[in-house]
């Protein structure tokens, strides 16, 4: 029997606000000591009350709009209770009943639309590190603002699950609401998977695989679960509703908690925070600040940039933004240089932080059109434009400084060709060419290039050679 998988995904996105969701301490704990970014509010001293970070609300509006979601003019917070040392208050402040972000959808590169049920704002939990006889608690991450994006069960393959997560990651980065650093847990995915016989109108029993932190692991976990659940059903048994953990090393999921053991979170309206009431005007003004999204770039550049190149570049919002800034006639060349030269460069991550101006890139492309640079020289100048030591000097100046301007002056070239043709070591090649051995022209062009110290335009050289040897 054929089984159809049905998948819903919950994605946690850490917002890149300066301070935490409910207090004024630094939200960026990268490179800091454990428990260095903890206020009395995060630490849950007695009598502490949450404040509300307006920036997090603004970013939530942008995130919502990036997913084509409605923004709810009135939302509020609730308490979700559980005991664990990563939760100093004994509850998480979240939005269970009235989330800020309503329905919307995410469009995958394939064009498939995955509906978003809602997304809500909440505070993150701390982190525990376990040792053999004790555990250490780091509260730096407590109440880092998160949005949890809940999809509808619209996904039916491991590939689409992968693509949905990746597209979400792109949307959050393009919207500028998250650093999207997966390695540091800026985005985490919980995946609900069930399978049902083809044609069945009922969904199967689902398993939830929690805390996946890469698109690849989402894809692999879904593949594994489909196989596991299929085997169970085919052997006539039943899938148990449970939470499962993913082991990246073994490539397997393992059961953690069944439904019977599921926690009762005893949700309650958060009495310390008044409702968030957003005016239509605020929502509209903030929505207008949403920059171009992947779907906009696909529309704009699909005729100029090859699809696979475009999909590579869509992982880099800063590059897409740059392509938007430069002259349209230069987009094709630059997109190729971005994809094949810049991203292949060792220091590309560093270079991406500070891109050259659109003018510099336009200038380089124009030099290329005028054949002022050999293709090797162009790639070199292109990379130098990103080099912090060369930056800002302009493509032309850099090319001149490095002596890379290509010789297009026909008269000058003719002189160099004459010198080369007069050399004894080229005599045999000349004779061979005249005898009809076409390919020795390459050797002769190479000799001219050498004589010109690489500055000659090879196609111009070939033309002159052919004329002279005829």
């Amino acid at each position: 029997m054929k089984y159809i998988p049905t998948i819903g995904i919950e994605c946690h996105v850490q917002l890149s606000t300066k301070t935490k969701l409910f207090s004024e301490v630094d939200n960026d704990a990268r490179g800091k000591e454990p428990n260095a970014c903890v206020s009395p509010v995060d630490f849950a001293l007695p009598g502490m009350l949450p404040r509300l970070n307006g920036e997090a609300i603004r970013l939530a509006v942008l995130a919502g709009r990036a997913m084509n979601c409605t923004i709810n003019p009135s939302s509020r917070f609730d308490r979700k209770h559980y005991f664990y040392p990563d939760s100093p208050k004994g509850y998480q402040i979240t939005q269970f009943y009235h989330p800020i972000i309503g329905e919307g959808y995410v469009e995958l590169p394939s064009g498939t639309k995955i509906r978003v049920e809602h997304a809500h704002l909440e505070g993150d939990a701390g982190k525990l590190t376990h040792f053999s006889s004790y555990s250490l608690v780091d509260l730096n991450r407590v109440d880092t603002p998160l949005i949890e994006i809940v999809s509808m069960p619209d996904i039916h393959s491991a590939k689409d699950a992968h693509d949905y997560c990746k597209e979400l990651w792109r949307l959050m980065r393009f919207a500028g609401v998250s650093y999207g650093d997966l390695y540091n847990g800026n985005m985490r995915f919980d995946v609900n998977i069930s399978i049902a016989p083809e044609g069945s109108d009922k969904l199967g029993t689902r398993a939830e695989v929690k805390n996946l932190n890469s698109f690849r692991s989402v894809e692999r976990a879904v593949e594994y679960e489909i196989t596991r659940q299929t085997k169970i059903l085919e052997s006539g048994e039943k899938v148990v509703q449970e939470t499962r953990g993913w082991n990246d090393a073994t490539g397997k999921t393992t059961g953690q908690r069944s439904k019977e053991e599921a926690k009762d979170y005893r949700y309650m309206p958060e009495p310390d925070l008044p409702p968030i009431n957003l005016s239509t005007e605020f929502i509209e003004t903030e929505s207008k600040k949403l920059p171009s999204m992947p779907v906009d770039y696909r529309k704009k550049f699909s005729k100029i940039i090859a699809e696979d190149t475009l999909e590579v570049l869509l992982d880099y919002p800063e590059l897409m933004k740059k392509l938007e800034e430069i002259d349209e006639k230069h987009v094709k060349l630059m997109s190729n240089l971005f994809a094949s030269v810049l991203l292949a460069e060792e220091k590309s991550a560093e270079y991406l932080n500070d891109l050259p101006s659109a003018n510099d890139l336009n200038e380089l492309s124009e030099m290329n059109e005028k054949k002022e640079l050999s293709s090797t020289a162009m790639k070199e100048v292109f990379l130098r434009l990103f080099d912090p030591q060369m930056k800002g000097r302009g493509a032309k100046n850099i090319a001149k400084e490095l002596g890379l301007i290509q010789e297009n002056d026909l008269e000058a070239l003719e002189k160099i060709v004459d010198i080369v043709l007069a050399k004894p070591e080229t005599q045999k090649a000349q004779a061979d060419f005249n005898a009809g051995e076409e390919k020795v022209i390459g050797f002769l062009v190479g000799q001219v290039m050498k004589e010109s110290h690489g500055k000659a335009n090879p196609s111009a050289v070939q033309e002159i050679l052919r004329k002279k040897l005829a």
Partner: protein
């Protein structure tokens, strides 16, 4: 109140207060007394006065702090075992405001642990005794603060009122006690009981003192998003004409002498030209039930943070995480704390939320509306605070329902967020104080306090 000046030094005021505190030691009023710190502060103020510098509106005024306000001076225990050893790095906003005007805390006062109770008998440190009869309860939860003012140890004391915890002990000890409009005074740095009903207020010996303290302590605080921008708008200070009394409370469930005291005050008001209007407020009968659902729910939630992990008491029997939680909370909480945690978690649990919490929230809305309706007909309401004067120590300690019934006439104000001022209303034949409460619409605090002078 006595304020320090060039003739009466702050040190004199503070030393007098400290001496009286010592004298009344057997009442178990204080959980902590800071003699050295208080005298040091007094000397600083006296030095300022001597130099002719400007001093605050409460310069050198000794006061008592209910032990659920955070301040680095002494441990903040909320009279609960589980907070034993906790010294706060934070100062509550209310404390900051009082001390910025020169008030001097001489000590922290006893309460029912975490303010759960109506008698101070739920304190880990034992009960505070009534100022008028040592065999009787001080009332609660702010029992220590009420008795500190009643015995004239301090000029004023702070309190918190979640369901009557200021007004009831005030009436049991014959002093003024104000529960302001919800959000008047910042709750920042005050150990939370039930966030949506907790109010910070005061015990004083006069209406004027209350007015002064409110003008110092109230106001918006960026650290408490539920505070009101301005608690009182002068344009609302219209001349009162009508005072309502609630028929639903005029029956045998209320002590005869309290009902007589109420009648006497009504006669007094009539003689001053006010009209007394009898009102029926049927929705108030839901108040106690709604209160004992909403408040325990918030209590259970707010007490979740006391887990022995970060501060305060930790059980020695904490071999693993579950034991650490279970034993710390079992040994650290009083039985009344546990009772409310159990009720609260029950009414919030999956499948019961709609039947209990949500229904109680709806009843709360009815109560809010009932009061709004009443204040369209009258300017203020005058009601008893509690059904009986101070009861005997141990009398109700094993009967939680009887204890909860004490709160029958006080809790509806907390659910509605409206102000209530407990005022002394004479003595009963056994020499126990009787109290009444004057109730006003939201944000009428200032005129309510002013109007209370008409009842003298």
């Amino acid at each position: 109140m006595k304020i320090a000046n060039s003739k009466v030094t702050a040190e004199r005021l503070v030393r007098d207060a400290l001496e009286k505190a010592k004298h009344f030691d057997d009442y178990h009023i204080f959980t902590f007394i800071d003699e050295e710190g208080a005298i040091k502060k007094a000397k600083e103020i006296d030095a300022k006065i001597a130099r002719g510098e400007k001093v605050g509106r409460l310069a050198g005024v000794p006061y008592a702090l209910k032990d659920n306000f955070l301040s680095p001076r002494g441990e903040t225990t909320a009279s609960a075992h589980i907070l034993e050893g906790f010294t706060s790095p934070i100062t509550a906003t209310a404390v900051e405001k009082l001390e910025a005007e020169g008030a001097i805390m001489i000590g922290r006062t006893n309460l029912d642990a975490f303010a759960h109770g109506s008698s101070t008998e739920n304190s880990y440190y034992g009960p505070t005794l009534n100022a008028f009869d040592k065999k009787r309860v001080a009332g609660g939860s702010s029992g220590g603060s009420a008795v500190a003012v009643a015995l004239d140890i301090v000029e004023f004391a702070t309190g918190t009122d979640t369901g009557g915890s200021i007004r009831q002990p005030a009436s049991f000890n014959g002093v003024y006690g104000l529960k302001p409009t919800y959000g008047c005074i910042s709750r920042y740095g005050v150990v939370a009981m039930a966030s949506s009903t907790d109010c910070i207020g005061f015990f004083t010996k006069s209406s004027d003192d209350m007015e002064l303290l409110m003008s110092v302590a109230s106001g918006q605080d960026p650290k408490d998003l539920t505070t009101l921008a301005d608690y009182y708008n002068d344009s609302e200070n219209k001349k009162a004409k009508k005072v309502g009394i609630i028929k639903d409370f005029d029956n045998d469930s209320v002590d005869k002498e309290i009902r007589e005291a109420l009648k006497k005050k009504c006669e007094l008001l009539k003689s001053k030209g006010y009209e007394i209007v009898e009102l029926e407020m049927p929705a108030l009968k839901y108040a106690l039930a709604a209160y004992y659902i909403i408040v325990p729910a918030e209590v259970a939630s707010n007490l979740s943070r006391y887990d022995g992990v970060r501060y305060g008491f930790r059980s020695e029997k904490s071999g693993d995480l579950d034991k650490l939680y279970a034993n710390t909370r079992d040994e650290g909480f009083m039985s009344e704390n546990k009772r409310r945690i159990m009720i609260g978690n029950f009414v919030l649990s999956s499948g019961f939320y709609d039947a209990y919490f949500l229904k109680a929230a709806k009843a709360r809305t009815l109560i809010v509306k009932e009061y709004e309706k009443a204040f369209k007909k009258v300017d203020y309401l005058l009601t008893p605070v509690s059904p009986n004067p101070a009861f005997l120590l141990g009398e109700k300690v094993n009967d939680p329902i009887a204890m909860y019934l004490e709160d029958m006439m006080s809790v509806s104000l907390n659910l509605a967020g409206i102000p209530g001022l407990a005022i002394p209303a004479g003595m009963n034949k056994n020499g126990l104080p009787l109290g009444l409460q004057l109730v006003g619409p939201r944000r009428s605090d200032k005129s309510l306090i002013e109007f209370s002078k008409e009842l003298i």
